[in-house]
Each structure stands twice: as C-alpha cells, then as structure tokens.
C-alpha cells in the first residue's frame, strides 16, 4: 500500500504493508540508517524520532499511523550538524561506541523543545533511553549546557 509521509520536511511516498513499523520503513525502505534498531519493543530508545515534535520510538510506531504527521529523524535535526546539542555532543565527547546516540540526541532535542530548562528529574523522565556504554552523566551535562546556551 502506498503511504505518503512527511519526513524532515520532505514529502516521501513509501509502498509497504501498513503494519510495518516506521523504523523498518526508514532504514530498509528509505535507506535512512541514522535511526538505529536496538530492541524492537520500545524499551531502549535507539530508534527515537520526532512525531509532531514528540520523541517517539519508531520501532513500535506503525506505518499506518504515520500518514499526516510530521516526522523528524536524526538526518533532519539540523542541516549541517549545527543543532546546539550536536555541537555539545562533540565538545563533551558524549558518545562512546555511539550506537544509542542518535536516539539519545532526538530524545534530548524533544525535551529541550518542551521544557527549555529541564531538571535532572525531567531528563531521567523524558530521556529514558538506554546506553550500554553508560554515557548518561555526559548526556546529562550536555543537555544542561545546551539549555543554558539556548537561553542566552
């Protein structure tokens, strides 16, 4: 079935079973491999994208629900890696192996949109992504710094 999607501001048509999880559509049908597969059951956050601005785990988001919503993936977070979080991720050396980090960034970006000055508790609440390398403290520090920068 052909479905019309709006991904990173671009209208895109996909022909796939409407039950296909959005993550599979992104990676396998559209070749957008920035979004990662971790668990497939909405537990780890590696597949996080924004759906109408809300951080959403795409492995459990069916294609049939993706029509008519605005989808943003890591490829669309900024045109040239200039999102403050992306810059701070480099500055703080946040990633270790990097596998979870695209999801982590998407969750963090959605959080700052919603809560410009998040507390530690807010971060734990909304960035519940799992990092096998344990980069949590650097993630947290980078988010706080980004909040300060974006305020200024």
């Amino acid at each position: 079935m052909a479905v019309n999607l709006m991904i990173n501001g671009k209208a895109t048509e996909v022909d796939a079973d409407p039950q296909t999880p959005l993550l599979w559509v992104l990676r396998d049908h559209l070749g957008m491999t920035g979004t990662k597969f971790g668990c497939g059951i909405a537990q780890c956050g590696a597949c996080t994208v924004h759906i109408d601005g809300v951080a959403t785990r795409s492995c459990q988001f069916p294609l049939e629900a993706a029509e008519g919503v605005k989808i943003t993936t890591i490829e669309g977070l900024s045109a040239d890696s200039s999102h403050p979080l992306q810059k701070l991720w480099v500055e703080f050396n946040v990633p270790q192996c990097g596998y979870c980090q695209t999801g982590m960034l998407m969750a963090a970006a959605a959080l700052l949109d919603e809560i410009p000055n998040p507390t530690d508790a807010d971060i734990d609440q909304y960035v519940s992504n799992i990092c096998r390398c344990g980069t949590y403290t650097r993630v947290r520090a980078a988010i706080h710094k980004a909040a300060d920068m974006m305020k200024a």
């Binding site: 039950q19 785990r57 459990q60 069916p62 909304y126």
Partner: protein, 447 residues
C-alpha cells in the same frame, strides 16, 4: 440379634442400590447415530470437516506446544485437582481410533466416553450439545481421517479417591448440561441464528465469558440469562464482558469492529490477550467473514448487564502532560514506560497499539487482566503464520509491585476512565500466582 439383621439387610440393600445406581449412571446415553454403520471413508471434503474443528477450537486444549496436534496433555486446574486433556487422535490404543460416530457424538455432545465414564465438564459438552448432527459428523470425519494417529497414553488425573469417581457427574449433567441441539428462533434473522449457534455451540464462548455458579456450571448457557457472556474471572484473567455495556462491554463497538477483532486480533478499541489470544490464534481468525459477521450480529443484540455507566474521553490528562504536570501518582512512570506506545493521549495508534482510554479491559471493574498484562506482557499473536511485531512487553522484572499498582491505577483513572484503584498487594498476589516456580502457580482451568 434382630436389629443387627435389619441393619445388615439395610446395608446389603444399600450396597445393591448403590452399585445398581452407579451401573445405571455409567450407561452410555443414546445417540441419533446409534444405528449408523461403521464409517470407513470420509463423508465430507476435508476443508468442511476441518472448519468445524476450527470453530470448536479443539486444538487449544487437546494439544501441547511442541507436541503432535490433538495428542492431549494440557493440564487444567480444578478445585478437585489437576486433570489433563486427552489424546483425541485416531490412534486405536491410546486415542479415539475405536470410536464409532455414536461414541464420538456421546463424548462431544453428552460428555460420556466410549467406556461409559463421564467426562469432566472442562470439556465444554454443555455448549457442544447444541451442535447439529451434521457438524458432529463433519467433526468425526476430521478426527478419523484428517488427523494423524499418535500413540501417547493419557495422563491420570491428579484428583484423589473418592472424588475421582466419575458417575456422580451424571447428576451434574442432569442438572446443568442440556442435550438439545440449537433451535432457530423464528423471530430472528438467519444471520442472528447462525451467530447464536456459533457463539453458544461450537464457539463455546460462555466457557470463559460467562461466570460460573457454585457447582462450576455456567450460570447461563444462552441469551435467556442476563449474565450470559457478561464477563468472568479465570486463570488470572478477566474474560471481557461481551454484552452491550457502553463502557465495559461491546456497547461502543460496531459489528465491523467485532469482525475485525476476531479476524485480525485487534481493532481500534482493544487487542486480544490472555486465553483469547489463543482462541484467536487457533480459531477465530480462520472463520469465514460471513460467520464472523453473524457472531457480531448476535453479540450486538445482547443488552447491557447490570449498571451501565457511560464513558467519554476527557483530555485533562493530555493537558496535564503537555504542561509537564506529573502530580498524579503513576503519571511519571506512565511517561517513561507506557507513553512510547500508548501515547500521552492514551489513544494508542490505530488498531496496532491499543488505546488505554476507554478500553473495556482497562476500565472494567476487575483489574485482573490489566495487572496480568503489565506483569507478564501479552502472548505472541500469529496471523497467517506470521508472528506479530506489536506486542506488550512484560514488566515483571523491571517494575516493583507498587509501581505496577501505580501505573494500573493511573491508567484506570485517566482520560475519562473511572475504575477502582489497584493495590500493590493485588499485584504481589498475581505475580506469585503467575510465577512458574511458585508452588501454587495458576494452571489453566477452562477455555
């Protein structure tokens, strides 16, 4: 001396009467097929024959995962002790290979085995008694000629003497098990009658969805009783209310919604779970569209049972989330653990992620199913041989009893839902009951 003689006579007469009665009660009933000559070749196309076995969902109980279909072995709990589903493959020594059509009929519709012993009513013969002669013949065809014989001896029940004597079941049968084939109601449409026939008969929906009385009998076997299909507790699940109740039954469902659930396992209101998941995997998805439509027509004709509160969506919860208001107990856990699939608006995502807002299972008075799903997740739905990619994960290891209770309470009281709170003690109990290593783990009662 005289008194002793009298007592002696009384005892002897008593024994004779008892033995005589037991003998009589072990007699095989009569079947319309008593005079039918031995059947040596299939009488129906195999698709027609196997379809009836799908309708009756024989495989669900008479098989064990990983073992030959219909070779029996599934344990079922009862207040008396554990019993095991039997081998119903056509093996002559251990299965039903020696059964004539009449023997088979007596077992399926009257609960009496070939040797005269009474079956326990975990076999839903009170429902199957409504099946037509034709459907019984097809079913016999299927088991005799389409099923592979498997030599596997039946397992003894774990029910101790004297409770394991079967003849008293004859009294149970006289009181609770009808023996009449379904009769069409002329004032109803053909579709309605077909639906009633399927639901009350082969489908034996009431085995789970109707509450049971003191003698474990279903309190109603058809729509003449207003508790029929109004939901019941079993095996750590609450089988849903299938009557017209607006909030907790099928009142807000269209006929098409019902068809969709039975055909695909999901619709915009709910998803199959628990033992219904197995009924879906093994039975309902194979039913024809016409039969599913008839079932829907029949179910939609059942009026609400008891009080009928209404449900309407309330977006207060959504608004609170939008303002990062996490004051409601469980709200914060909901955001991290649940909202990824079920959404902050509680509406799920189309048919593939079930809504929690207005979901009859979530707002039902009894929270057993919700606690069970939160602890143990949902089973694997298999459609056309393809396992499903959307499946509730178990939280038994991730969350404590009090956290699960908080989440359950939160979803039962948000988005317009208005159901009683869940306590950590309730969660602890079900956690224990569904722990395979506990010494009182629930084993399946009835399906």
């Amino acid at each position: 001396m005289k008194i002793l003689r009298i007592i002696g006579i009384i005892i002897v007469v008593g024994i004779v009467l008892f033995v005589g009665l037991a003998f009589l009660l072990n007699q095989r009933p009569s079947s319309p097929f008593d005079e039918v000559a031995a059947i040596t070749a299939p009488q129906y196309p195999v698709e027609e024959a196997s379809y009836v076995a799908r309708l009756a969902d024989c495989v669900a109980c008479h098989s064990l995962p990983g073992e030959a279909p219909f070779s029996g072995g599934l344990p079922m709990g009862s207040p008396l002790g554990v019993m095991y589903a039997t081998n119903i493959t056509p093996d002559k020594a251990t299965g039903i290979g020696n059964y004539t059509l009449a023997d088979f009929d007596n077992a399926v519709r009257r609960g009496v085995a070939k040797d005269g012993h009474r079956l326990y009513p975990s076999m839903p013969y009170p429902s199957y008694s409504k099946m037509t002669d034709e459907d019984i013949k097809k079913l016999y065809d299927y088991f005799m000629f389409a099923v592979e014989p498997v030599a596997k001896p039946n397992q003894e029940t774990g029910i101790p003497f004297p409770l394991n004597m079967r003849w008293p079941l004859a009294f149970w049968n006289a009181a609770f098990a009808p023996t009449k084939v379904y009769e069409n109601k002329p004032e109803q449409s053909a579709e309605w009658n077909r639906g009633a026939y399927l639901v009350q008969g082969a489908g034996h929906c009431g085995s789970c969805h109707t509450e049971r009385g003191l003698a474990i009998q279903e309190v109603a076997l058809d729509d003449s009783g207003d508790a029929y299909l109004s939901g019941a507790l079993l095996d750590g699940w609450h089988a849903s209310n299938l009557r017209g109740n607006q909030a907790t039954g099928l009142g807000r469902w269209s006929e098409d919604d019902i068809v969709q659930l039975l055909k695909t396992g999901r619709n915009k209101h709910a998803t199959v779970f628990g033992t219904m998941l197995e009924a879906f995997n093994n039975s309902t998805q194979f039913m024809t569209d016409e039969d599913l439509k008839s079932i829907a027509v029949y179910l939609k004709s059942l009026p609400p049972h008891g009080a009928d509160p209404q449900w309407t969506y309330d977006d207060a919860t959504k608004v609170a989330f939008a303002g990062n208001d996490m004051t409601a107990p469980g709200a914060s856990l909901y955001i991290t653990q649940c909202s990824n699939c079920h959404g902050r608006d509680g509406l799920g995502r189309g048919a593939l992620q079930p809504p929690l807002a207005g979901n009859p299972t979530v707002i039902g008075h009894n929270a057993e199913s919700i606690i069970n799903i939160l602890l143990n997740g949902a089973g694997r739905m298999v459609v056309d041989g393809v396992p499903d990619s959307y499946r509730m994960t178990p939280f038994r290891v991730l969350l404590r009893d009090d956290q699960i209770a908080e989440i359950a309470t939160f979803i039962r009281s948000s988005w317009g839902n208005d159901a009683p709170a869940v306590t950590a003690a309730e969660v602890a109990k079900l956690r224990e009951d569904t722990d395979p290593t506990s010494d009182h783990v629930i084993i399946l009662n009835m399906r």
